[in-house]
Subunit: 278 residues, 2 copies
Amino acid sequence: MNSGTDIHRQVFFVSDSTGITVETLGNALLSQFDHAEFVTTTIPFVIDATQADNVVARIDAAARGKRDRPLVFSTLADSALREILSRSNALVLDVFQAFIGTLERELHVGSSHALGRFHAAADKASYEGRIGAVEFALNHDDGAGIRSYADADTILVGVSRSGKTPTCVYLAMQFGIRTANYPLTDEVLSCTTLPQHLLDNRARLFGLTINPERLQKIRSERRPGTAYASPSRCRTEVREAEALFERHRIPCLDTSAASVEEIASRVLLRTGLRRNAY
Amino acid sequence: MNSGTDIHRQVFFVSDSTGITVETLGNALLSQFDHAEFVTTTIPFVIDATQADNVVARIDAAARGKRDRPLVFSTLADSALREILSRSNALVLDVFQAFIGTLERELHVGSSHALGRFHAAADKASYEGRIGAVEFALNHDDGAGIRSYADADTILVGVSRSGKTPTCVYLAMQFGIRTANYPLTDEVLSCTTLPQHLLDNRARLFGLTINPERLQKIRSERRPGTAYASPSRCRTEVREAEALFERHRIPCLDTSAASVEEIASRVLLRTGLRRNAY
């Protein structure tokens, strides 16, 4: 495996809250190093000195006997805890420190250095926004709940396995967007007009399409050897779906090489829907 | 609203990819400033010089006539694009630059400076891991799919509105964890033994509980004035659920003041399940 150039590093993500922000940022930065290999560990909810001491002990134990010191990404807000962490035998990348001083100077105020802020606690607005949107997605999955389509922020349409459901769920959870999804089945594709509940909400429709080969691969993993997963059926469905999008002027996006995050972000960009933050 | 101390700032999150990493980090940092108010805009998928020029024009237009310059958080990987962005009349906090040089020196290699890496594209493992987990959550929501409970990484149990469904969906989407959830209804709570499909998977069970007042508030928003939302019913259900957790030694977590991120992270910490990164 070309071990001379490969790098196999221990990486720790340390947080006084969930660790999700720091692991997302850390993984994003590490993804810039193509030939490196990392073993990552997230240590969330570090909120007192005893815990911070234990984290240092754990990091130093991981460092022992290794050629390279571990990398530590940290979002600890408390100065005392950050000081403890800095004593480890690792390279500590302190995300909080990197920006908070600059922000304090710019905003002419001190920050609260409050623990656990890297994701705020649930409040009513957040509960209704996200949890309501997640429920909406579940209640309007795969053609369900068509009578309340008028309450949807957007309605994803596409053939089976074009990525509708995960996109709906992600839009709800990450951005609080209420999304329904409706499958373009043979029946729908063979009609010259759209079903009435789609026509009534045409401005909300957004199409997902996919490369037929990719679709065939995904369907084959689930139902190998079926007509559903056949190359010809995949090609026909995708061609008809794309024709339908064009005929009805439904904006559309190719999901073939995109992550769920990318599909969701592009849908928001194209529809102009607001990205809520939680 | 105490406008002398309040700060109302324009904030831009600029990314060559989805913008999710940079807006998560930026919002986390801004949440440290209690008395400040921010108006945030995310500009994703900035991948060429023309787009970067347009972003600068947009930022500078927002700055015009304002007392305070905008804040810009950026995760652009391309040096030329970062240079263009730095010409704006804003305070630019360059997340990429803050860490990538240190990492390059530590890892003794150059980074790829590849665009769009802040969330990697879909591959097979990722598709199966996350999408499969999201499907699992949807197919095993609210007591469904009990026959495949043996395939679950964990099974959340709790009274109606204790936070089971959003936690399952979040565990799936963020961490690729397969989670089922089973409601502790009156019927279940009134029995002395657990249903067989729960007994068979006792090691996978994880309880969610909630403050009865908080539960009553949530239920009242959905079904005001019903027995379901009554204080006495909420108190009884929570008491019986907690007794059940204790009787069967099911680990349990209070979701009352916790965000979905926090509940999910604590479930992983307590169960020892691996946090996959996507």
